[in-house]
């Protein structure tokens, strides 16, 4: 029983970080209908940013998100303005390939300047734990889960209660209608990509004290983010939150009860099952 509870707990905690990556991807998709294959690379850039701030300025990774959130927002907005915006009306396939190419460029640029060495952040609390009713909880993971929850709550408030947030949601629902209603659709796209990138970067920052950093790390997150987003329903923020936690727990349980090498297999099988039987995802509106 303790093994089961421990693995569910680990799954939920890591799932929170996955959710953050997924939410970013789902917002971008919702507003622009572009699947961002370079999303994991944005997570990677967030990680390197955290690493630079930590080693260069000695700022704690959890504090550094105050710097990396605006920085990543700017990176996202720049990518949207210079690249994505030009293919918004093009074939969806070309959009996919553009982001694939962008991903290659980002990861290899980073490799050129930082080499492919593994970087590992060692903070005073990197391997410390909290004890909770016989279960052990990694301190940095618990902190990052708390921050993730706070950011997600903030994001909900922003999307539901503010005018800009409602504008983004309206654009996601129907781009043309939103434009007719006088919403600046271009600005919303810029905002959406910026927010998506900022969330990916934050996830990178939050996971870096318990993980390691190398230029190709993005691929892991890109694939996971797809699964999460499809699972929750493309464009659904609540769905992505739920999807992240489901994937975290599935991986964790599969690793304990079947085999660690097979855990991804279960994630992809789950992904296919959802795609086939509920293509709109668990919480998505049917649009396929």
């Amino acid at each position: 029983m303790i093994v089961f509870l421990q693995s569910v707990l680990s799954g939920v905690l890591i799932g929170g970080v996955y959710a953050l990556v997924g939410i970013g991807l789902t917002i971008i998709f919702g507003v622009m209908r572009v699947i961002n294959f370079a999303h994991g690379e944005l997570v990677m850039i967030g990680m390197y940013l955290t690493w630079i701030i930590f080693t260069g300025l000695a700022i704690d990774p959890f504090v550094s998100i105050l710097i990396s959130i605006p920085a990543m927002f700017a990176v996202g907005a720049l990518i949207q303005k210079t690249l994505i915006n030009r293919v918004l009306g093009a074939l969806p396939e070309n959009q996919i390939l553009l982001t694939v190419g962008l991903g290659l460029v980002l990861s290899n640029l980073v490799m050129l300047f930082f080499t492919s060495d593994y970087r590992i952040l060692t903070t005073s609390y990197s391997s410390s734990t909290l004890r909770l009713a016989g279960l052990s909880v990694s301190t940095p993971l618990a902190i990052s889960f708390a921050i993730t929850s706070a950011i997600t709550a903030l994001l909900y408030w922003f999307l539901l209660k503010t005018d800009t947030g409602q504008g983004i949601r309206a654009t996601a629902q129907d781009r043309d209608a939103a434009q007719l209603m006088g919403i600046n659709v271009k600005r919303m796209s810029l905002l959406a990509f910026g927010i998506g990138a900022a969330l990916a970067g934050t996830a990178g920052a939050l996971i870096s004290p318990t993980y390691y950093i190398f230029p190709q790390v993005g691929g892991v997150f890109t694939l996971k983010a797809f699964v999460i987003v499809v699972l929750g329903g493309m464009g659904s923020v609540l769905g992505a939150t739920l999807g992240g936690v489901i994937i975290g727990v599935t991986e964790s349980l599969a690793a304990v009860y079947i085999s660690a090498g097979m855990k991804e297999l279960f994630v992809y099988v789950l992904f296919l099952i959802v795609l086939l039987f509920r293509p709109a995802g668990l919480l998505g509106r049917s649009r396929v």
Partner: protein, 380 residues
């Protein structure tokens, strides 16, 4: 969208003379290529040519489903790996000669294609792409974890290929590069021919109709599910043959190299850079990518910059480039892809055609689909 459909009658009415001419050109090139191993002694050059043939075959095979039918599969490594694994496992563990094993590879790829097709073709557009990645990853993970059969991550190291004898006469003992060169050449030509036939047959028009508008095609009585599966089957068979050839030639396969997502992306890159949905697009793509990657690996680009006097070898920028440019070929691939999609949505071939058409005022250039569909900012 309408413009693309208008292309079809244009292709049909294309003068017979130009068809004859392009046939003659391809035949001449093929003849020259046939003679290369006699004239060229350098195994390195032959090796680069074999890599080129491999790239052409991969690109042309993908082109059938991705280019003509418009189903952007990012999981074609599944067929490549199936072909390579089937052939090499039969050869290594059952001592079945590869010229028989290759047929088993074709059969296995057909089965995989049918399974994948029946799952993934229920989905459209980006959803199909995502599903194709998932299936390919599942197959990779199975190969990685099913150790008794596939030897897992350790992969299969091919010992020897038995000599090929026909009626007691030794055809080849596989020791030189020449047999691989010829097989590669034949494979590249066959895949090219398949693309040509697909482009010009009724079957091919059904594929293209699905690409342009699946619902309209359906209402015209074309069964999309059936034709998509046929296209995938054709594509899978030749991808598997290419994979089998790769495995035999390199002599070592493991799940990462023949089933990884990098390989799937590479197949698409070959097509997108050359020009998607055209006969010669993948050839042009391979002509760009293969020499480029070899040249970058040998650091030729940096040396070229130095010898041309554009950069000083001892300067800081020069030293940086010398140290790093050789390592940057994937970066340059990426930049190429981004540039091609933004500025030449029809690939290098389409771009060249447009330039040519602009020079000879007699012909009217066909607008690129990207430009038509792209809206105001698509083509700056």
């Amino acid at each position: 969208m309408a413009i693309r459909v208008n292309d079809l009658p244009r292709a049909l009415t294309r003068s017979r003379r130009s068809t004859l001419f392009s046939f003659a050109a391809v035949a001449a090139v093929a003849l020259v290529l046939l003679l290369v191993p006699r004239a060229v002694q350098s195994p390195y050059l032959l090796h680069v040519m074999i890599l080129f043939f491999l790239a052409v075959s991969m690109g042309e095979s993908w082109n059938v489903i991705g280019g003509y039918t418009g189903q952007y599969s990012l999981g074609h490594a599944a067929y490549f790996g199936t072909g390579a694994y089937t052939t090499l496992m039969l050869l290594q563990y059952r001592h079945i000669a590869p010229w028989w094993g290759a047929w088993a590879a074709v059969g296995a790829a057909l089965v995989v294609a049918l399974v994948i097709g029946s799952i993934c073709f229920r989905l459209r557009g980006p959803y199909f792409t995502l599903a194709s990645i998932a299936v390919a990853e599942i197959i990779r993970l199975i190969a990685l974890n099913w150790k008794p059969v596939t030897n897992g991550a350790e992969g299969i190291l091919l010992m020897d290929i038995p000599p090929l004898k026909i009626g007691g006469m030794l055809v080849t003992d596989w020791l030189s590069k020449a047999p691989f060169y010829y097989i590669g050449l034949v494979l590249a030509l066959v895949t090219l021919l398949v693309n040509y036939l697909v482009g010009r047959s009724k079957l091919g028009y059904c594929f293209q109709a699905i690409r342009e508008d699946q619902d309209a095609a359906h209402s015209l009585g074309i069964n999309p599910a059936f034709y998509k599966n046929v296209a995938l089957a054709i594509s899978a068979v030749f991808t598997a043959l290419t994979g089998a050839f790769y495995g035999l030639y390199i002599g070592f396969i493991d799940p990462h190299t023949v089933l990884g997502i990098d390989l799937s992306v590479e197949m698409v890159l070959i097509c997108i850079i050359g020009g998607i949905g055209t006969n010669l697009g993948p050839v042009v793509g391979a002509l760009v990518l293969v020499p480029l990657s070899e040249a970058l690996r040998a650091n030729l680009l940096a040396r070229l910059l130095f010898s041309a006097g554009l950069l000083d070898e001892t300067s800081r920028a020069g030293a940086f480039l010398k140290e790093n440019l050789a390592h940057a070929h994937v970066l340059i691939y990426g930049i190429l892809v981004v540039l091609v999609i933004l500025f030449m949505p029809d690939g290098v071939l389409g771009f060249a055609k447009k330039l040519l058409a602009r020079r000879s005022p007699g012909r009217v250039p066909s607008p690129s689909p990207g430009a038509v569909l792209g809206g105001p900012d698509a083509n700056p």
